[in-house]
């Protein structure tokens, strides 16, 4: 029974990982309708940033890397937006395929730059302990990821809700033409949106170095899960993403506890399909009268 209880914090921590990897995606998807398949490779870029910073920052690289990775991945995203994606607005399926091409190139580039084998990122010593929760061990690394996920959500929320830039961003989401007419530079808003969404992927990448492999294939391990969260959460809704991530994390944790890891993945997929039967547009939907 104690073990079963211990699945609760584990479910939360899986949810935090899911949230972290899906947050940037839900941001760009929701704000711009862009499905970025290269999101996984931006995560990878964040992880490699932490790896490179070790030479300079030593064992505190993870902490130092958070803002740097945000900037690095954000810059990558910005370049992608400027060079390609901006020609694709209103064609979400085409961006999906385009960014998949980008992800292939980035993966191979990582292989050529850093080599095919995984590299290691040493966690700072203050992240190596654990606390006892409900009779089980919850590593500090996991707590750190949860805190980071919370901080990112809070940051995004504050930004969208409280800053002027954020309000502009929401205006563009709700009515691009009207916003443009009202003097919002939509092009600049798009750049900024993509920068932030990709930057969040970089932050996720740094966090993932604490629990997973750091290698050229890193992105591919997370991308499908991230998409499931976005789909279940609803089109780019922050609330939806948070709830969906935690719910899927819990589901994953308990399903795996009672069955096994393979079956748990299949169960999660089945539940998402079933859920879309009830709520075809995910948890939260923006209402619209437009006839597509």
């Amino acid at each position: 029974m104690t073990t079963l209880l211990n699945q609760l914090p584990i479910g939360l921590s899986i949810g935090a990982v899911l949230l972290l990897i899906a947050l940037g995606l839900t941001f760009t998807f929701g704000q711009m309708g862009v499905i970025n398949m290269a999101h996984g490779e931006f995560i990878m870029a964040g992880a490699y940033t932490a790896y490179l910073l070790q030479d300079w920052a030593g064992s505190q690289a993870v902490l130092v890397a958070l803002p740097v990775a945000f900037a690095v991945a954000g810059a990558l995203g910005w370049v992608l937006e400027r060079t390609a994606i901006r020609h694709f607005y209103g064609r979400p399926l085409d961006t999906l395929l385009l960014t998949w091409g980008v992800s292939l190139v980035l993966q191979q580039a990582a292989r050529d730059i850093f080599g095919a084998p995984n590299v290691q990122v040493v966690a700072p010593s203050w992240l190596t302990g654990r606390v006892e929760v409900l009779g089980g061990a919850l590593p500090y690394a996991r707590l750190f990821i949860m805190a980071l996920a919370l901080a990112c959500v809070a940051g995004v929320w504050l930004y969208l809700d409280r800053s002027r830039q954020g309000r502009r961003m929401r205006a563009v989401v709700q009515n691009r033409e009207l916003a443009a007419v009202s003097g919002v530079a939509t092009g600049r808003v798009d750049q900024l949106t993509f920068f932030i969404g990709s930057g969040l992927a970089g932050v996720a990448g740094v966090a993932l170095t604490l629990i997973g492999p750091v290698g050229p294939s890193l992105g591919t391990y997370y991308i499908v899960d991230a998409f499931l969260v976005v789909v279940a959460g609803g089109l780019g809704q922050l609330r939806g993403a948070v709830i969906a991530a935690v719910a899927l994390g819990m589901l994953n944790s308990f399903a795996e506890f009672w069955t096994d890891a393979s079956l748990a993945k299949v169960i999660v997929f089945a539940v998402v399909i079933g859920f879309l039967q009830v709520r075809p547009q995910g948890l939260f939907v923006l209402r619209s009268r437009a006839l597509t």
Binding site: G33, A84, V102, L104, R111, S262, F269, P280
Partner: protein, 359 residues
């Protein structure tokens, strides 16, 4: 009408090329490779129908390819085993033939299952998602997740499916040795003919009223409802047809290549099929066929020269096609043709610019 005559003449000459010239000119082993590409072309044809014509971006076509392939492979395995357990079950510790396998001992049932199972799954999925008006990006992501889940399921049920190894080592393909050159030649002909027949069928479908309706659904699904049609039905039927094509492709692939395994069915192979269709030209069925053959040929020959480079090339090619020529090679060809016609002073036919339905 001359266009039409010329069309038939071209189809006939291509048939000649594939059925007479290629078998004479190519060594057996290259012919076998071409047969493999043609299998992918059959699956790509289905994608061309579902995506190009119907607007359903299916990123899980590998699932149906796999269902067809496994149905065929299960029959071949049981046939080889001749009443005993297939070899992989022995080393997976399975003692009795699982109930799921039993019907596949019968060649008729197995061949029917190649199409029927794919169609059944596509119909169930189609009814579930299309009725709920799940579409666009949501549909794409769902089918992708389906491919991921399917592979995990296949790999996890090793005693039933052979796990990551898949099913391989067939000794007898309908009374012939699969490695013999004669068999490979026959298989090539069968594949080429199936592709030709399916192409003609798909083309007929596209030209029919149903095909027009499909394009209408792609460009304005909600509007179609107000014409008295249920778009969910139209989409489900089309999705099922494309699934059946993928199933057939998988079933042919098994004797041609001699193996079916989960590595052929996952997220990446499914996406690669879509890439091929996009590069060839998604709005024309011939573009799908062209793309599948050329991309797979390029992949093979490239990996013989510069292994890591293929990913760069595939990625870069794809980025270029999506940005500069979203209609693919066929689109470029049409552009060139129209430009040429303009220079000659002949008025070009009205431009047809399909627009994607926003999700």
């Amino acid at each position: 009408m001359s266009d039409r005559l010329r069309g038939y003449a071209l189809f006939a000459s291509i048939s000649l090329l594939l059925l007479v010239v290629a078998p004479l000119a190519l060594p057996a082993f290259r012919l076998d490779e071409l047969a493999k590409y043609l299998c992918f072309a059959i699956a790509a044809l289905g994608i061309g129908l579902a995506w190009g014509q119907g607007g359903m971006l299916t990123l899980g076509q590998g699932v149906f390819f796999g269902l067809g392939g496994y149905a065929m492979a299960m029959y071949l395995k049981l046939h080889d085993a001749g009443g005993d357990l297939p070899d992989f079950m022995v080393w997976s510790g399975v003692e009795h033939l699982p109930a799921l396998w039993k019907p596949f001992g019968n060649v008729g049932i197995a061949l029917a299952a190649v199409v029927a199972v794919s169609v059944a799954i596509a119909v169930v999925l189609g009814v579930l998602v299309f009725r709920q008006r799940v579409r666009g990006a949501y549909f794409a992501i769902l089918t992708q997740a389906l491919a991921a889940a399917f592979v995990i399921l296949l790999v996890g049920q090793q005693g039933l499916t052979g796990g990551t190894n898949g099913l391989t080592n067939f000794y007898d393909v309908f009374g012939r040795d699969p490695e013999a050159e004669g068999t490979q030649r026959t298989l090539y002909f069968v594949t080429a003919i199936v592709l030709g027949v399916l192409y003609l069928g798909a083309r007929q479908l596209v030209k029919s009223r149903f095909g027009r309706l499909l394009v209408a659904v792609r460009d304005g699904e909600d509007r179609v409802r107000f014409l008295g049609y249920n778009p969910a039905t139209v989409k489900t039927v089309t999705f099922a047809i494309s699934a059946a094509m993928a199933g057939l492709a998988g079933a042919l692939f098994v004797p041609v290549v001699g193996i079916i395994s989960p590595s052929l069915l996952g997220v990446v192979p499914s996406l690669e099929l879509v890439v091929a269709v996009a590069v060839g030209g998604r709005y024309a069925l011939a573009g799908a066929v062209l793309g599948a053959v050329v991309m797979n040929y390029a992949k093979t020959s490239f990996s013989e020269q510069w292994a890591g480079g293929w990913l760069y090339l595939e990625g870069a090619l794809f980025i270029l096609v999506m940005t500069l020529a979203p209609k693919g090679a066929v689109g470029l060809y049409e552009q060139a043709r129209d430009a040429l016609a303009r220079r000659r002073g002949v008025p070009a036919p009205a431009p047809t610019a399909p627009q994607e339905v926003a999700a």
